[in-house]
Structures are given as C-alpha cells and as structure tokens.
Homo-oligomer: 383 residues x 2
C-alpha cells in the first residue's frame, strides 16, 4: 500500500539504530521506471537542513530514481560534516542500485543540531537496500515516524493509474510547509513538468493550509515520483485531482495526529476580497495562542477570533464581521448575536467561520488547539 | 505614588461591581493643570474597542484633563450600545468635573464582547469622582488590574520635574501594543508635541518590544498627561529619558507578571543589518511556541531558535549564525559549538543572543516561556 501501491516501486523500512528506542528509522523508496519523472517542494524556511540543500539541487533535472529517508536526527545545522553525511547517503544508495548520485533524494527528520552517526546511518541504508520489496510501503511509512502516533498513508486509484503516498509529521506544523516528509508515488506516465504542476497545485491548498503550531520546519519535503509503469498517460486534470486527493488525505491525517491536540479546528474564511486575504485571516486565527487555549477549554470565546482578524491587512469593515462557532453565529455585525451557550465544543472537530463581507473568495486553514499535552511534549522533546 | 507622584494630579479607584469578585474596577486620574498637554498611542489592531475609538478622536487636540478606566469588561465588539456607554462615561466625568467631554479619555479592559452594565459603571464613576485624592495613585493602579497579580507602578524624579505611571496587563501581550493600559503623568511643562514625541520614542523601544504571547489586543492604550504644575520646562532629552525610564520599568513589570510564565526571556539580536531586521528576528523567536516550550522545559534547544530565524526576511547568511543561551555559545557558524549542558536554565531570567553577522544594529525583544499555567489560565478565562 501507500508508496508501493503504484506499479514500478519498491520500498523498505529498517532499524539502523539512530533512534534510541530501537524502532525503524531508515526508509527507502525506489522507482524502477520506466520513467523517472519527479517533482518536489521544500520548506520555505531559509535555514534549511542539509538533505534539503542537497535534494533541492538534485531534483532540478526533474528526475529521481530513489529517496532515502531517516528519522532520529534532522541533520540540520550540523555544519559541513552534516552535508557530507547527506551526500554519502545518496552516494551509497546510488552505488547499490546502479544509479547516478543526483537521482537520489535525501530526507531527514528529528532533532535539529544533531549529527547522525555516519557509520550507523550507512549500515542502515545498506540494510534498507537489501530489504526493498514491492510490498514495503507499510515498513517505509513506519520508519519515517518521529513523534507520530500512527503512520500516515493514502492511495487513490484513478482511470488506469494509481497515486499513493506516505507522510510523517506531528509538530512544527506550519505553512510553507509543515514539518513533515511526504513521498508520493504514481505509475502514471507524466512529464516532470506535469508532476511539478500537479504537486504545487495540490500542496498549495493542502499542506500549505496546515498550521498546527505556527512553527515552520527546516526539513519539510514533499516528493512526487512517477514510474510510468501503468502505461497510462492520464488526463492532466484527473492526474492533478488524484495527487490533490492523496495530499489532502495525508494533510488531514497529519492534523489529526498533531502533538497533544484535543481538537482539530477548521477555520473557514468566507466572502473575502481575495483568496490571499482569506488565507491571511485564517492563518492569523490559527496562530492565536489565546484562541487555541479557549478551544482547548471548550470556551466559545469569539472575541479572540476578532482580535486576530484585526491584526491582518485583509479587506473588511471592523464594524461588520460575523463569526460562527460550529454553525452558531455568536457574532453578527461585530456584536454579540446567538448565545455562546449554544456552541458545543465537546467533539474533536471544530469549525470556525468568519464572514468578511468583502467579496466572494473563500479559504480554509486547519489548526489544532493548544493543550497541556502540547506544552508537555514540546518541553521534554530533546532532553 | 505612581500617577499621583507628579504635582497637579488626583486619582481614585473604586469597586463599582463590574467584577464578579467585588474588587476595585473603576479608576479615575485627573489633571488639575495648569497645563493639559497630552499624548497617547493606541493598539494597531484594526478591531478596536469602543474606548479606543473614542479616545483616539478625543486626543487629537493634544489635550486631556482626565482619564477614566474600567476593568471587568473590554467594551469591544459590543455594538453601538457599547460606544454609547463609553461616551456616557466620558460625559459624566466631564460634567462632574466641569470639563469638556473631549477632555476625557476612556479606557476599558476585560473580556471582549461583554457590554458593561451602564448603570453599574456610571454609579462607579460617580463614586470615583467623590474619592479623588492627591494620594490616590495606589488605589487607581489596583482598580485597573484584571489577571495581574500585582499592581504595576513607576516613578522617576528628574531635574525639577517628576514622571510617574501605572500599568495593567498580563496576557495578550504583543507588539504594537501589548494588552495593557498605561497612564503616565508628569508635572513637567511640555507641549503636546513634546509629550507625543517623548511618548512615541519611549513606547517604540519598550512596550512595543514586549511579545509575551503574540496576541495583540483591541484595547491597548498608553496615555501621557502633563500638568505643568512643577513650573519646570525640562530639557527635551531629559524629559524623553524620564518618560522612557518609566515606560521601561512598567514594561519589565508587565513581563514579570505575564500569565503563567516561569521565565522572562530577553532575545538580543546583534550585528543585524538594520534595527528593523533585529526586531523582526527577535519577534519571530518570541512567537515560536516550540522555543517557548523548550525554555519552560529548561531545554537549551537552539535548533528551535534557528528555525525561527529562518522564517524572517532579515539579512543574514543561513550558514553563518551564532546563538548563545545565557552566554554559552551553543551554536557557532550555524553548527554545534559549546555543550548545551553548560547552559543553566533554572533562573527565571533567560537571555538568548543571536548574532546575524550582517551589520551593527541591535535590538532586544522580551517574551515569556509557554507553560502549563498559561494554557490553564487561558483555557478557563471567560467561562
């Protein structure tokens, strides 16, 4: 399933010993072709991890034959030695599989500033090569987990082709991109340009709309590899739709597994002048710790929603805003309306709707509440 | 003391019954002149409370004779009725003291969306007028408290004149401005223009550098009233310095009393290309929940500092950044340096230093850690 659901792919996941828990920590996904078209998007954080620095260059030809991923260390801010470890990893995969080094994408995740032990990692990579299997998707999805409680996988079968994917990520989730590694595979026969267009369109309205905790990662990577093994040249819209479906499913899974969260919150901004305005307002609310604490406390505190809206540059009349919590319009025309007591915040799923009354654009941003468990988990992560 | 330390001022604080606790909730500060020069800065949040909408207009003439403040309700998003309550409050103070209504500034603080009961509030205002006293500073400082654990007051005596102030604020503290009400009084004989210049210069590097929780308020107000009662026309630099000292002292007191905080964190950004760059980098770190959780957990996790730096547009080389925690340079040239084990995060005061190596500008931003107590307090505030 997941990355091995599409024809032409093998995968594996092994325990190299990078994680002190002894759990699987090295994953490998190989595209056996015939095509090697590929596209990727990376974190927009200017402080990028070594694997991102490598993979951004390597993907420029629009081709990738394999991706090797490790958990147990982000290999970010590890100096020149860290880049050498990334390069050695790609080299070893390439040699083992008879590929060029630039055909190998590298991803790492874990603590920033921690240099992975090179020998431990390379031994794991050798092992992962030996374990490659057409049914290895599940093992790979498990090997990339860090604080994730469950592996995240998705598969969409379309007209003559399949798109599958796996993702990891449970914290440092913020737009452009979230802290996550995502590998998507397809057996559709598409060009690198088509793959790139479909991937960018899909990430723009899925992973880029996740803002779990406002913290942007140094390692985010979303990679799409196309084998062409189905022999199907898909309709571009159908292909884009299938890629979007997989990205959306994985994004929702990331949100549901966010560290310490009690609620998954969808912030719908409607009647905005532009989509950018709607996204700006949604993100602003998603980043309000006070609002997120209120949802944790099941407190329908709409004032904290409006206080966040007011920090944006979006078009709206401050005296004419409406806010609904789970469908109850607690604020109309910027004043109290229906009783907040009607709002039921017991269920995990919460929807906040903000009507800007400034146009007809709409966007949703997804976030979580701010809980004791989030503070606990993130105050004890590296020590 | 505080707002009544300077000559020419009377103040009072009374319990009107707006707070369910029965504590004091209405404060009044009156400038008996001879001068009525005044200046104020207000929240930059576009969703402004009714008292801010009133006071912004009323201060435009550069004059104020009195300020009436209530806790127990922010009078924000309370519709046209809310503005009417603000105006009635100003009118009653004006009538009672023989002033023009526009000579009266109004401030409110408390829950957004809550309309204060007009009769309760006005009865409290009448009572506050009756209680006005040249020693009423302490009572006024207590009456503006919400979740504050202590009143905040400061006095600076300079060459022939005095500047004193009071502040409230313990949450929703974020730049431009923090959630806070501040009243500063002086008996210096200054023009409204001098008062405005000194106040803006002081707030820019004090209150505007506080970012306790990234949440910007709808009610923030900093008001400076000058009575001229000392007869001293101060040297402009000496006056600006005294106003700055009072603002700095009050800002530090706000930081120390932030809701649920275990640590006061100073983020020093040095060798920036511009002061704006330094402030942008400082604020970015101050808003990282992951970094703030790490400090709560006494975890010297410098990777989270760099991940925040990377989200900014400031000038720097991502491969050449240095980070110190309490003076220990745990990161040099964007790689690990001194052992994080040398960093002692037991004391409440924490200093993070980021060297951008891009120029010679410097700025400090102040924040707090993110704790269980913050989540607890802010998940239970309105219910």
């Amino acid at each position: 399933m997941s990355v091995t659901a599409a024809q032409g792919f093998r995968a594996s996941g092994v325990a190299a010993g990078l994680k002190s828990s002894g759990k699987a920590d090295v994953a490998l996904v190989v595209n056996d072709g015939p095509s090697s078209a590929a596209a990727a998007v990376f974190t927009s954080n200017r402080c990028k991890a070594n694997p991102v620095l490598w993979s951004e260059e390597a993907i420029k030809a629009g081709s990738a034959r394999a991706v090797v991923l490790n958990s147990g260390g982000a290999n970010c801010y590890t100096g020149p030695e860290g880049f050498a470890v990334t390069h050695a990893t790609a080299e070893l995969v390439a040699e083992s599989l008879g590929l060029g080094t630039v055909d190998v994408q590298v991803c790492s995740t874990g603590l920033i500033g921690l240099l992975n032990d090179k020998d431990t990692l390379l031994a794991g990579v050798r092992n992962a090569v030996g374990e490659l299997d057409a049914d290895g998707g599940q093992a790979a999805a498990e090997a990339i987990m860090t604080t994730d409680s469950v592996p995240k996988q998705a598969v969409v079968s379309a007209d003559g082709f399949t798109v599958g994917g796996m993702a990891k990520g449970a914290g440092m989730l913020a737009p452009a991109l979230a802290t996550m590694l995502v590998v998507i595979t397809t057996d559709a026969d598409v060009t690198a340009e088509q793959a790139d267009a479909a991937l960018r369109a899909a990430t723009r309205t899925t992973f880029d709309r996740l803002d779990s905790d406002g913290c942007q990662s140094t390692n985010d990577t979303v990679l799409l590899m196309a084998s062409g093994a189905s022999g199907t040249t898909p309709d571009p819209d159908a292909f884009a739709e299938a890629v979007h479906s997989v990205c959306h499913s994985l994004a929702v899974q990331l949100l549901a597994d966010a560290e310490g969260a009690d609620h998954e919150i969808t912030i719908e901004v409607v009647n905005a002048a532009t989509e950018d305005d709607a996204v700006e307002v949604g993100r602003s609310i998603a980043r309000s710790n006070l609002f997120k604490c209120a949802i944790f406390g099941k407190d329908p505190n709409w004032g904290r929603v409006l206080a966040s809206v007011g920090t944006t540059q979006a078009a709206f009349d401050p005296a004419d805003l409406d806010v609904a919590l789970n469908g109850v319009w607690v604020c109309r025309n910027s004043g109290p309306s229906e009783s907040p007591e009607k709002v039921d915040l017991e269920p995990r799923a919460v929807t906040v709707t903000v009507d800007l009354k400034a146009g007809d654009a709409t966007a949703s941003v997804w976030t979580n509440d701010l809980t004791h468990a989030y503070v606990h988990e993130n105050s004890a992560y590296s020590t």
